[in-house]
């Protein structure tokens, strides 16, 4: 362990790959990028082999270098079960996405691959960073390549979508930077003006949980800032509206990474940073976050029901599924949190696959409108079968990975708060409804006029496309039958995160502040509704049962 800096290796292998891609001629861009991503993937699998799950919640393979000693800022990486699982998810989805981009991306291929590999650096870095400042740097690194991927290789309305995506996430992350600095400042003040460890996660956690904790006001404000950053990323209701737009405009691989990994940055951030550093504030805000999660679960599913565009449907289903993640985290219950982490992992696999599948059909039809589809089973039976598999996986069919995450979240929630579980369980019906309705309209019946007009251009799924989906399908089955592999890995992280959160006690909020907040929200909604032009009233849902 003390020879090879394996964490840095995994993190910066893609960067090395990006440099090679940039230096070599464009025709090498595809294989080199794929090779770099595969190497990072292999390295992450080696990490899995070397990881010892029995070392409860302690960070392993820790690398520590002094970076800006004046403020105690370090280059510090470390891995525990939670980050390990998410790193493997990232490296897996990245090579699959790169492979899936080979055919669709034909312009500026070098720049595209460089962006993708740098994106991977940022994502892995977020999961491994144990220094708050380093975490922030990686967090922002993620933003730039994703901005480029949507903005350059995206659809017709990509500029609107990217601006929305960037502004949204930037607002969250800048406030987070302020919170990080404020926390560090409070740390050094408490430590007699010594900056040592002011950005170090472990030192901060020590102070926050065992050492008496941060000042309540600081906690509330800092938690609020972190919350905004993470809630936008997850995305939680009502901070989710950037997601459908970004997905619709993003190229297929961009959507895969966006849904598969980027959303998990938020979930990861909640567990790693907010529970451990601001336990009192976390306890204070938990009820509100649970309510927002329940709204996201049900509301996301209902809105998904009436989406006319395949990608938007999957995007809203993500809002619903990610609601389980925030719900599972903030009921502070071990099974629920295990469920939340499993849900993150399997949502990455399943939704990633669904976006790939939408991409497959888009490649052939240049359309994603559900109403124009129909009868794919007759024309492309293999595609229809694979789509069916992932549709049922997404609907939480037992035996596949999605079920275990959902069930554990629900059962844990039931133990903590039965009514919340009752509300959330209804998504079983809604989820089946929007997925199967989509499946029925797209796959069954006679081939639609539109599809028939494509003639022989509507080919069945190609071997390369199957190759991108097969590993995801295999993992969905394996982790559905043997979720113990994941559960044993994350067990230590869950215990330590819940222990940290458990040291908190809810801070009494001033009722006046809460009332003013609710009043402002109500006023904003009312003003928005009454100032809408009269033509913008809701249209009736498209019928056809």
């Amino acid at each position: 362990m003390n020879g090879l800096p394996i964490l840095s290796l995994i993190t910066f292998l893609p960067l090395a790959g990006a440099l090679v891609v940039a230096l070599l001629p464009a025709r090498f861009a595809r294989p080199v990028a794929l090779a770099a991503a595969l190497l990072a993937w292999v390295a992450s699998l080696l990490l899995v082999v070397g990881f010892s799950p029995e070392r409860d919640g302690l960070f392993q393979f820790v690398e520590e270098l002094s970076w800006i000693p004046l403020f105690g800022i370090e280059y510090k990486l470390g891995v525990d079960g939670l980050s390990l699982v998410l790193v493997v998810l990232t490296t897996t989805l990245t090579w699959i996405s790169i492979l899936a981009s080979f055919k669709p991306i034909q312009t500026r291929i070098k720049e595209y691959m460089v962006s993708f590999l740098i994106l991977e650096v940022g994502m892995i870095g977020v999961f491994l960073a144990l220094d708050a400042f380093l975490f922030y740097i990686f967090w922002e690194i993620v933003l730039v390549p994703m901005y480029l991927i949507i903005g350059i290789w995206g659809g017709a309305n990509r500029i609107y979508a990217t601006i929305k995506f960037v502004l949204y996430t930037l607002v969250g992350s800048l406030l987070m930077l302020v919170a990080i600095l404020a926390t560090a400042f409070a740390f050094q003040a408490a430590n007699g003006s010594d900056w040592t460890g002011a950005f170090d996660f472990e030192a901060l956690r020590e102070l926050a949980t065992a050492g008496g904790g941060f000042d309540p006001t600081l906690q509330l404000l800092a938690f609020g800032a972190f919350f905004l950053a993470f809630a936008i990323k997850v995305p939680m209701f009502p901070f989710h509206t950037w997601l459908p737009d970004a997905h619709v405009e993003a190229p297929t691989a961009g959507s895969v990474i966006l849904a598969g990994v980027l959303l998990k940055l938020g979930g990861y951030g909640f567990i790693r940073w907010t529970l451990s550093l601001y336990p009192d504030a976390a306890q204070t805000f938990a009820p509100a976050i649970i309510v927002l999660s329940l709204i996201a679960i049900i509301y996301g599913a209902i809105v998904a029901l009436v989406q006319p565009d395949l990608k938007k449907l999957v995007a809203y289903s993500s809002v619903s599924h990610m609601g389980f993640v925030t719900l599972g985290i903030f009921v502070f219950q071990p099974q629920a949190m295990a469920g939340a982490i499993l849900q993150m992992f399997s949502h990455g696999l399943i939704t990633g696959a669904l976006f790939l599948l939408v991409g497959v059909i888009y490649e052939r039809t240049h359309d994603r409108t559900i109403a124009k589809m129909g009868g794919l089973a007759a024309r492309t039976p293999v595609y229809a079968t694979i789509l069916g598999f992932f549709v049922f996986a997404s609907a939480g069919l037992p035996g596949l990975s999605g079920f275990v995450g959902e069930f554990l979240t629900l059962v844990g929630t039931f133990a903590a708060n039965p009514w919340a579980a009752v509300v959330a369980t209804f998504v079983m019906i809604l989820g089946a409804a929007y997925l199967l309705w989509m499946f029925q309209r797209v796959v069954t019946g006679e081939p639609s006029v539109f599809l028939a007009s494509l003639g022989h251009r509507l080919t069945d799924i190609s071997p390369v496309e199957i190759l991108t989906l097969a590993p995801l399908g295999a993992l969905v089955v394996v982790f559905g039958i043997l979720p113990g592999i994941l559960l044993d890995t994350i067990d230590g992280s869950i215990t330590s995160s819940l222990r940290d959160a458990g040291t908190g006690t809810a801070i009494a909020l001033d009722p006046l502040v809460v009332a003013i907040g609710l009043g402002l929200v109500a006023a904003a909604v009312v003003v928005r509704v009454v100032t809408l032009p009269t033509g913008a009233r809701p249209a009736a849902a498209e019928n056809g049962s």
Binding site: P398, T444, L487, A522, A536
Partner: protein, 662 residues
């Protein structure tokens, strides 16, 4: 046993995987692997069943479980993948594997010309695997997994002819309506874990029955009702019954296997599994009885007027499932399982026979275009007649014994209302079954001219399973009740019936809580009177059907009188229309979920796109022109902002009072 028990389920799974992988290349030979897999599974199951029912080692009183692997190790929630064979599972294994095997064989003939031949057999094997795991599951969660997997297989098989949009709609409807029940079942499982800390079926029941009821965070009545909600979905009880008639869109062997003989019985199996939980919650049992008997009469009333042969049978299935739940609710638990077995064979027979009819008249299902088929397809006719006599409740056929026991015990256990409604249902049953036989087999042929000369009896691969099922549905009742009442005393033998003896250990805990022993049933005295009443009403229903729709059995000859049928239905126009339109449940659901639900969804989407997103964009634009201040106020819409501010203030004041007042 450690290999045999898993093998029962593993064989069909292997059959599914192999057929899914290479079936397409096997063409018309694709049935071999799946059929042999199920045959082998049947053989293994029979060995296991015989050992289990004889109580030989390693089977204990409460069965024997094979542990496979740690499925979900999540802290203090540990779920094992394990299979359990006890007497209840053994009884179910008999029905599932036997009917399953016969349906597989029958399908070789029935599906012969279908282009999706291999796919059909692959799905059937997937279903067998799922159903067997459902029966064998040792933990609530394993049962739930299988519960959903049978739902998936059912979805795939109902929608087997995926180009037909009616089939696609029916399969989706079946899955979603089932999911409604599954929400209850899933919540019930969560409640069980919260109450007992385990999801193992036997362990959790031990905990639930060994402690005072007040010790549990979730009241046990709620747990029972949640589990029953799951059972209502799968067994299609009111108001979740709407999916089953539509499920007839699937190929007929599927209707026989899944939607008559096995899967729809899963709900009855589930409540029987959970019997001590229900015993601890008498109020929940009354609910079960009420919903069951209501479904029985509702479905029977619809079956009276349907013209599609499969739909009549589908509503009859609903009605008989209602009987089983009524039996369970009143405490006649053995009778419920008895009826399950009898119906499994009888209904399987009737559906397969109807498939043979449909086959003979070239995919016609409308009985108005049948008639006079008795001589043309004699094997189908005779077997179907046997099934119908059984359904009507004519002794000594299997369904007579089981139905009679349900009705008799309801009366004796003090549920006279269940008995009274049950008697009415019995009349209706005899009536609609012989309406079906009359319209299909007797009288003049109304078959399409073009089809008429081509009517043919089905091949042996289809008629042999029919006869085997017919023999089973004749003898099963005698066999399972012997030497118990009512036949035993008649021949001077005493003792509990065979089935009652098998199920005794299964129900022991529950009956102890319930504080009763299952009513013994005797031929003489009041019980004898009850038997006479039910035979009498069965005959009455039968005679009524004969008078209206004719009869041609041996010396019994009567012509059909369609004019009297018309006159009779004109006399009660509302009831007739209600029955014909299935009491408008489909219309109601369409209004509630498609029309109203669709509008709600549309409004929420509008809210999302315009309001939630609009506020975000609004904040963005306000920030951008912060120099201009509240520039938009000057657009002449001040009253709008005033309204917003006013409502905001009201919310502010209201929430302040609520929070501070606590």
């Amino acid at each position: 046993m450690d290999t045999l028990i898993p093998l029962i389920a593993a064989l069909p799974l292997a059959g599914f995987l192999v057929t899914a992988a290479i079936g397409r290349r096997l063409g018309r030979q694709a049935h071999w692997i799946p059929v042999l897999a199920v045959a082998a599974s049947w053989l293994v199951a029979m060995v296991v069943v015989a050992t289990a029912l004889s109580g030989a080692a390693p089977f204990a009183e409460d069965g024997y479980a094979v542990r496979l692997w740690e499925w979900i190790p999540a802290g203090n929630l540990q779920v094992e993948a394990a299979l359990l064979v006890d007497n209840l599972a053994a009884v179910l294994l008999i029905v599932v594997t036997t009917v399953g095997l016969l349906v597989h064989v029958y399908s070789i003939g029935y599906m012969r010309h279908d282009p999706g031949y291999w796919r059909f057999f692959a799905y059937l094997n997937l279903f067998m695997f799922s159903m067997l795991v459902l029966v064998l599951g040792d933990s609530w969660l394993t049962v739930f997994v299988a519960w959903e997997l049978v739902g998936l297989s059912s979805y795939l098989l109902i929608g087997f002819w995926y180009r037909k949009s009616s089939a696609a709609l029916a399969s989706k409807k079946a899955f979603i309506v089932n999911r409604v029940g599954d929400v209850g079942f899933a919540l019930g499982i969560m409640a069980i874990w919260v109450n007992t800390g385990t999801l193992n079926i036997r362990d959790s029941i031990d905990v639930l029955t060994s402690q005072p009821l007040t010790a549990f965070p979730v009241p046990i009545g709620i747990v029972a009702l949640l589990i029953f909600a799951g059972a209502m979905g799968k067994s299609a009880q009111f108001p979740l019954h709407v999916w089953l008639p539509d499920a007839m869109e699937g190929p007929t062997p599927v209707s026989a296997l899944i939607h008559a003989a096995t899967m729809v019985n899963a709900g009855v199996y589930l409540v029987a599994r959970a019997n001590p939980i229900f015993a601890s919650a008498p109020e929940a049992m009354v609910v079960v009885a009420a919903i069951g008997i209501f479904t029985a009469i509702l479905a029977a009333s619809i079956a009276l007027t349907q013209t599609d042969i499969k739909r009549v049978l589908a509503y009859s299935t609903l009605s008989q499932l209602g009987y089983m739940f009524a039996a369970f609710g009143v405490g006649a638990w053995t009778a419920a399982i008895f009826h399950l077995m009898a119906q499994g064979f009888t209904k399987g027979l009737l559906f397969l026979a109807s498939g043979s009819v449909i086959h003979a008249v070239h995919d016609e299902q409308d009985m108005r275009k049948m008639g006079g088929l008795a001589k043309r397809i004699p094997h189908t006719y005779r077997t179907m007649l046997i099934g119908s006599l059984g359904m009507a409740g004519i002794p000594p056929l299997a369904s007579f014994f089981s139905k009679d026991e349900i009705l008799g015990e309801s009366f004796i256990l003090g549920f006279a209302w269940v008995w009274a409604i049950g008697i009415i249902v019995a009349i209706m049953t005899a009536f609609y079954m012989f309406r079906l036989i009359g319209l299909t087999f007797w009288g003049e042929s109304r078959v399409d001219r073009a089809v008429e000369p081509k009517i043919h009896e089905s091949p042996a691969v289809m008629t042999v399973p029919l006869w085997l099922l017919a023999i089973a549905s004749i003898l099963l009742g005698i066999w399972l009740s012997w030497p118990g009442p009512p036949l035993g005393p008649l021949f001077g033998v005493e003792g509990p019936g065979l089935l009652a003896g098998w199920l005794e250990p299964v129900y022991a805990q529950g009956l102890e809580i319930l504080g009763q022993h299952e009513a013994e049933f005797a031929l003489f005295g009041i019980d004898g009177a009850l038997i006479l009443v039910s035979v009498a009403v069965a005959t009455a229903g039968l005679l009524a059907a004969w008078r209206l729709f004719g009869v041609e059995i041996g010396p019994l000859r009567q012509r059909a009188r369609p004019e009297r049928v018309r006159a009779l239905s004109a006399r009660v126009p509302f009831l007739y229309r209600a029955s014909l339109n299935k009491w408008w449940f489909d219309e109601l659901n369409h209004l509630l979920f498609i029309v109203i639900g669709g509008r709600v969804a549309a409004v929420l989407w509008w809210f999302d796109a315009k309001v939630v997103d609009g506020i975000v964009n609004g904040i963005g634009s306000v920030t951008r022109r912060s120099g201009g201040g509240l520039a938009r106020v000057q657009t002449g819409r001040v009253q709008n902002y005033a309204l917003g501010i006013a409502i905001g203030l009201i919310v502010m004041a209201g929430s302040y009072l609520m929070i501070a007042g606590r």
